[in-house]
């Protein structure tokens, strides 16, 4: 009877064959939005996460040896998230909107992006979606007002307003992924940011998959733990990444949504920490570890997790880190192949089930 590790090995090989046969199963490709090297890393993250999840594995190591580790951890995390979103069933139309009732959403009204709280969704497409928009002033409590006062009351332009959104604009309703203060509403600069993000949503959908935005903003899955040079990783999250076709740029932060940021507190997908701060983590979390002088300690701390180890060939401790990975490989529980995507020749991978 084959062991579960053997099952995993077989399945990973199956995935490779499936992808080579090009039968339409997604391989994590982002549709040439990114450069080939970046694309390869997204695919590796995608395939690794898929293999782990299909077989409920939590102790696999994927070591990736590449010229530099910059952006690698984030791109791999993006691949993992892409896998997670791809298995979540996309919600369409009214079903999608019903799931958003009570949350803060962005929507278009007369060509302008606004932010409000989704209050009501009709049962069919003949009705209106009702959104309460706050524009900066406190909404009066009508219950405390007399009938006369209520009659005399004229809502100020900057107070809460109901918007009735017709079906043709429903597609523009998207969760903003965070809460605002009911009393103060969404500040203008935040609305401008959300509007900017909405414009980028088509790129995000291309990159991660249709319906991904909703998942990104609402999912409560355990964040991926990235252990490495925190200050550099924080900078990479904010950097404008040029798209492969030079059609624009893309920021990774709205997709990866790092924990610790107030804006993404509701649904963060990555946790970025310094390699000195790594402690034993939740076994359900995938760890992405940038190899350095503390790699051995970090491998011990993540022994109950599935993990990706990044080895930058330009790092001073590269040879030492590679040796540590090779030692872990020698003492592996079982090996398996994750070469299920067309990885460029200069990116080398080694995968195994660790003890």
């Amino acid at each position: 009877m084959p062991s579960e590790h053997e099952d995993l090995e077989v399945t990973l090989l199956d995935i490779r064959q499936t992808l080579q046969n090009n039968d339409g199963l997604s391989d994590g490709s982002t549709g040439r939005l990114l450069s080939p090297w970046a694309e390869a890393l997204v695919k590796l993250g995608f395939t690794f996460a898929r293999a782990l999840e299909l077989h409920e594995q939590s102790n696999a190591t994927l070591a990736i040896c590449l010229p530099r580790i910059e952006f690698a951890a984030l791109l791999l995390a993006l691949g993992v998230i892409k896998w997670k979103t791809s298995k979540a069933s996309p919600k369409e139309g009214l079903e999608r909107l019903h799931a958003l009732v009570g949350t803060w959403v962005s929507y278009e009204h007369n060509g302008v992006t606004k932010v409000g709280r989704l209050d009501q969704v009709p049962q069919n497409e003949d009705g209106y979606v009702r959104i309460l928009e706050f524009k900066g002033k406190k909404v009066p409590n009508f219950e405390d007002m007399s009938l006369e006062e209520r009659k005399r009351y004229i809502p100020p332009k900057s107070a809460g307003l109901w918007h009735l959104v017709e079906s043709e604009w429903w597609a523009t309703i998207k969760p903003v992924g965070r809460e605002f203060d009911d009393q103060r509403g969404a500040p203008a600069h935040q609305v401008a940011r959300i509007a900017g993000a909405a414009r980028n949503s088509s790129i995000v959908e291309k990159l991660i998959g249709s319906g991904a935005e909703y998942w990104l903003m609402t999912s409560r899955e355990k964040p991926i733990r990235i252990i490495g040079c925190k200050s550099r990783l924080d900078g990479e999250l904010q950097e404008d990444i040029p798209l492969a076709d030079n059609s624009g740029t893309l920021k990774l932060i709205p997709m990866l949504r790092p924990a610790g940021s107030e804006e993404y507190a509701a649904s963060s997908h990555i946790w970025v920490g310094s390699c000195t701060k790594m402690q034993c983590v939740d076994p359900e979390s995938i760890c992405i570890i940038e190899g350095g002088r503390l790699l051995e300690d970090n491998l011990i701390a993540s022994s109950r997790n599935s993990r990706v180890v990044l080895l930058g060939r330009n790092a001073p401790s590269y040879e030492e880190a590679a040796q540590i990975v090779k030692n872990a490989f020698l003492h592996r529980s079982k090996e398996f192949t994750v070469n299920c995507v067309k990885v460029p020749l200069h990116i080398k991978v080694l995968s195994f089930i660790h003890k």
Binding site: C65, L66, P67, R293, L311, R313, N314, Q323
Partner: protein, 510 residues
Amino acid sequence: MNFTETGAIHENASRVFEDGLWMEIVDFPELAAFDRARRAFAESVNRHALEGPWIELIESLKLVHARVARTPCRPSWLFSQERFTMREQRLEPQLRARLRWVDPTVRSGFDRVQEALRVLANVEITPVTIGAGRLIACFRAGSRNVVAIRDAEVWDECGAQLSQQVPGLGFEIRKPTELRDHPSVDQLILFGPPWLLRYRNESFLLGSPVAPSVWFVVCRHEHVGVVPQSGLEECTTHRLNGVGQSLAEVETNLEHEPMLFQPRAFVLKHGQDSGLSWVAGPDDTTSALPLVLGGGKGIYIQEEGGLYTTITGVDSATRPCLTVERLDACEIETGMLVLLTTKGGGDMIPVVADSLLKDEAKTVRELEILWKRRLADKAERLGITKVAQCLHTSPQNVRNWCSPRNIAPENLEDHLLPILELVGLKPYYPKMVEAIGKLRSAHQSAGMRLQAHLLQSLKGLDLRAAYVNGFQEIRDKAGGPVKTVYLVQEVKGMEEVSTRLVGRVLELED
């Protein structure tokens, strides 16, 4: 490095991994003869178990071979430079005097080496230079070419020789370590056999290449060897293009290569510890991380401590300082630049603090000196252990409190009050507390001012010299502390050392 620059390095690596490395093999008969002679000499010296100056000469000859084979310098120039030939000149008469007592094979080996050296010293232009020049001449006009040479002392000569070969064609000389974080260029030229890179911890030049084409200028008598593509698997090696039939794979032989400089220990610079010379008794120890720094220096960093590192940009010819960041000791890596106060750091803070305290400075300082002097006197008379017992504390704490670099104990009620009782100054306690509060606040402000000033002066400063020479002194025009940016050359294993050694820049033993 941003996304585009990172992508460029990935593309370079992709090309290098697919196309392989390019070899420019050159015949250098004079050097080949010298190489044979020095190897035979080394073998006979080892066979007869000779030691001392004999071994020293063998090591020196390794350096001579490496310099001639792996730089485009004129041997005639190299042999005329006292700094390079000092050791051989000192050793030659010593060994000649001993020749009559050694085995004839050693004697003849020595003579052959001397003869080969004489021939080599007359070479005016080397095939290595001609080979490198030939390569550069083939490169596209206007392309950006980098020549990697380890020893910055020979850069001027190398530059002049290459320029003579290819007048008007551009190339830049860089240290290999500078190319760890460097923007992409068109061609990279390296000297010496590829296998050597791994033993010099320079395999990043191929694994993370700064250029899509990497060229090696190799003497035919050298072993080319093989270079694994990845540290994870040894079997896949880089393809070597341009290696002719005559260059059969020969087992690499590190024995005949010069050893890399490996400092053996940290030693205190003479007089550095004199400030605490009155303190007797065993030292307190702590766990500390030894760092080998450029310029023959070293420092112990407390395990829980940290250091300021400078983050530099990757400009074409400069390394501008972008910012300064504090890292934990365990995050420090070889190749980083660390910022250390080497002169006057602590001395400047009181001066600035006094200027902030204005008229109060005199009174506050007098009170501080009063109790410190009395405590030091007590420690000198009774012994530091006895004083520590009286104060229910450790001898190290007493040392710290006596030091002018320390304002006062952290907890005044628990520690300062007993000290004042011991030295007969108890009635002054309220005044002392007030003075210490003012002093601490002034020192903090002064430290922040000096630090801010320093960081401001560092921003944008070209720190390339630190990469090239191993260190770079930063002098504050306003008279603040002298800081030095050091290149971390090696991070050693954690050690248990005297607390007195921690945090000081120390001279290293040769």
